[in-house]
């Protein structure tokens, strides 16, 4: 199984499984295409017929509201037919094997699968077994990758900072369990960001994380010094107490984004969060709702970026 299965022999995108291994030209193509769709989402009639007659199946083996909804909106704006399958509570609980589920749905003439699964590598596995005319979009697999989230984050950064080549970006929080962080790191380095920092206690960092090309900080104030972009990660409820962290309160004190800590960053630094936020745990409401926050625009851009990915895949 190879990551290059996401590209065809002409180097065009067949599936979107991970940012790793994709050339900057493809990432830029997606961002540029998304740019052209932002107009659509602001029109009164928000539909274009690019995917008319195509069937897109949202296969969510893990619960999700926001990501699934934005994929659904994106597909509908492109005039595709969308089917949402919340498999977490149907086939899997009947013991049906993952590939059987996928094969059954393929037989219903799906054109595209949007897959979320709790296991790293699930989207790769599906992509390597579907018929060649079916495209797979990874909407999050375990701790591995969440490429459309990373792309919408890149879109947001580009909107506010224009150029990637002179940026300092800090990603703060639970890097260990975060597919978002892994995809962001690959996207930022592919697009030429010279300095990527990760900021977290040692219990929330994976081993050898520096091999991904990041600088590691445990002290948040140092980690945020002079950065242009602060990306906060969501702390999953189940990680908040126990072997990873002692308490919410202590985490907020040392790694929560407060106005004081944000003051260490550049004055025009933007604050991002993939959502949903835990206010008062990883981010202070004052910051989340403040002038430097671009968290809500991120959500809006997410639709355009997902429209871009779907339309590019459908054309290849």
């Amino acid at each position: 199984m190879n990551h290059q299965l996401q590209l065809n022999k002409n180097g065009e995108l067949l599936h979107l499984l991970t940012i790793e291994g994709l050339p900057a030209s493809i990432l830029t193509l997606i961002l540029d295409t998304a740019e052209s769709f932002t107009g659509v989402t602001e029109r009164e009639i928000k539909k274009i017929p690019l995917l008319r007659g195509k069937s897109i199946f949202n296969l969510f083996f893990e619960p999700s509201t926001r990501t699934r909804t934005t994929f659904e909106i994106a597909a509908k704006r492109l005039s595709a037919d969308v089917l949402n399958l919340n498999i977490a509570v149907s086939a899997q609980s009947k013991g049906e094997a993952l590939l059987d589920t996928v094969n059954n749905l393929s037989a219903m003439h799906a054109d595209m699968f949007v897959v979320r699964h709790s296991q790293s590598g699930a989207a790769h596995m599906i992509a390597s077994h579907v018929k060649p005319d079916i495209h797979v979009i990874n909407a999050g697999d375990g701790r591995h990758a969440h490429p459309t989230q990373a792309l919408l984050d890149m879109f947001t950064i580009r909107r506010y900072k224009q150029d990637f080549h002179n940026l300092r970006v800090a990603i703060v929080g639970d890097i260990l369990h975060s597919r978002v962080a892994r995809s962001q790191i690959h996207a930022l380095s592919t697009l030429g960001v010279p300095e990527i920092r990760v900021v977290a206690p040692k219990t929330l960092l994976p081993n050898k994380v520096e091999r991904l090309g990041v600088h590691v900080y445990h002290d948040m104030e140092k980690g945020l010094r002079d950065v242009d972009v602060v990306i906060m990660l969501r702390l999953q409820n189940e990680r908040m107490q126990g072997a990873n962290l002692p308490s919410n309160e202590e985490y907020f004190k040392y790694y929560g984004l407060t106005p004081e800590k944000l003051a260490k960053a550049k004055p025009d630094a933007i604050v991002m969060h993939p959502g949903p936020m835990n206010r008062g745990i990883e981010i202070d409401s004052v910051v989340a709702d403040g002038g430097q926050s671009v968290i809500l625009p991120q959500v809006t851009f997410g639709i355009a970026v997902r429209m871009a990915v779907m339309s590019i895949l459908a054309g290849n």
């Binding site: 094997a97 296991q119 790293s120 590598g121 077994h129 375990g142 081993n207 091999r211």
Partner: protein, 426 residues
């Protein structure tokens, strides 16, 4: 029943023999080497010109999946695979369903295997009942039924008191205890080495200390108790160093490594290749190099196949949900030759770790070509390459990281007690 093997290159590590000589078999035993007695002028002949004639291989870890796990493999399929791999004796761990924890189960297994191709199957008994790590098994009874050692397979013994008691009890009878070191809480349901690849792919990690801390416990208990321990399938450079020190202190410890860990590293997982989902996990290149070197300086005593046939469906899952293990019986010889060749080792030194030494670990009279010894023999072409494909493997388990590769060493004949149990068809 007589048989003459002519013109072969006889390699016998135990007798330090490496020469082209004829070998005569009568009544299942080796009766002459070199000069051919007159009564062999008219008997069946195998012409082994350009081939190596060596003791049948001895595998220290082959799961045969019976009783209870026949959907993965059967004794028939796996003993055929062993024969095709040149293996004439093998030890099988107790992780069957139910585990080999009662004499009746062991007797049934022995009886079933005897009716097949006569490969010697040496069951390893369970160290605790149901492999739950709570109550000791009837080890002496199990020995009488045919168990040659006692192990806990890949199941954890979380209670060190139970492990210590089991070691004391086993040492009462001078039984050997086989353990694969893994501290289950540190392994924490991980699926890959805690390193670069697991970090990149987002796979749950198993740190090296899950192995070394358990190994440290084992070594300390051996020092106290004096029980003979065979450490199964170590995976890390640190473990090699710890075993080396333990051996310098003359502790009664032996050790093996699997064919997979001798050749592969975490990098081979690539993008979620579930055939590289193994127990213990594939570690980094330094670890692999230490294992390869440790085998040469004698820190690691033997190579095992760590054969684990798995049905295709159990590998057609996301990495973390796939079943760990690889098919190995038919790769043991080839991957040993590949290792020996890359380390500039002679054939005789390479074959030693899959013949003479595993025989001594099992304390069985096998693994040599002495006059009067049972004619358990492997004949192979060291120059021929073969391709690993689902159809070239006789094992029901087609799961191996080496699928699609060309490997050196093609088994031509396998003999057990003078009977040809395998002959390559082309």
């Amino acid at each position: 029943m007589k048989l003459l093997i002519k013109n072969g290159r006889l390699i016998d590590p135990q007798n330090k023999l490496d020469a082209v000589k004829d070998l005569c078999i009568a009544e299942g035993k080796i009766v002459a080497i070199g000069s051919i007695p007159t009564e062999f002028t008219d008997c069946p002949v195998i012409d082994a010109k350009d081939w190596v004639v060596c003791p049948g291989l001895i595998d220290l870890s082959a799961r045969l999946r019976e009783p209870g796990l026949e959907y993965k493999a059967t004794l028939e399929s796996e003993l055929d695979a062993a024969a095709a791999g040149g293996i004439t004796s093998l030890a099988c761990p107790p992780d069957t369903d139910p585990p080999l924890d009662e004499p009746g189960l062991v007797e049934m297994l022995k009886h079933r295997t005897k009716s097949l191709n006569h490969i010697h199957v040496y069951p390893i008994g369970a160290l605790t009942q149901k492999l739950k790590g709570e109550k000791l098994t009837e080890m002496a009874e199990l020995r009488d039924a045919g168990c040659v050692a006692f192990s806990h397979a890949d199941e954890p013994i979380t209670n060190l008191h139970i492990l210590r008691q089991a070691m004391y009890y086993a040492s009462t009878f001078n039984f050997s205890v086989w353990l694969r070191p893994q501290e289950i809480n540190l392994a924490n349901r991980g699926v890959a080495h805690d390193g670069e690849v697991a970090t990149r792919l987002g796979l749950s990690p198993i740190p090296v200390c899950a192995e070394t801390i358990a190994l440290s416990n084992i070594i300390l208990l051996v020092r106290e108790i004096g029980v003979r321990v065979h450490v199964c399938r170590i995976s890390s450079a640190e473990s090699v160093a710890m075993i080396r020190t333990a051996k310098q202190q003359k502790l009664p410890i032996t050790c093996d490594v699997s064919i997979n860990h001798l050749h592969l590293s975490e990098m081979d997982i690539g993008f979620f290749n579930t055939n590289c989902h193994l127990i213990p996990p594939l570690r980094n290149l330094q670890d692999r190099d230490s294992l390869r070197a440790g085998l040469i300086d004698g820190t690691i005593d033997a190579i095992c196949s760590d054969h684990a046939p798995i049905d295709d469906d159990a590998k057609l899952l996301p990495f973390g949900e796939s079943e760990a293990g690889a098919s190995g019986l038919e790769l043991l010889l080839s991957l040993t030759l590949k290792w020996a060749d890359s380390m500039n080792l002679s054939l005789i030194d390479g074959l030693k770790v899959i013949t003479q030494i595993p025989a001594s670990i099992l304390a069985i009279d096998a693994g040599h070509l002495s006059l009067g010894a049972a004619a358990d023999i492997c004949i192979f072409d060291p120059e021929a390459y073969w391709k690993v494909t689902p159809s070239t493997l006789k094992s029901q388990g087609k799961n191996t990281p080496f699928m699609g590769m060309e490997l050196p060493g093609s088994v031509k004949y396998t003999l057990v007690g003078g009977n040809i149990i395998y002959q390559r068809s082309n």
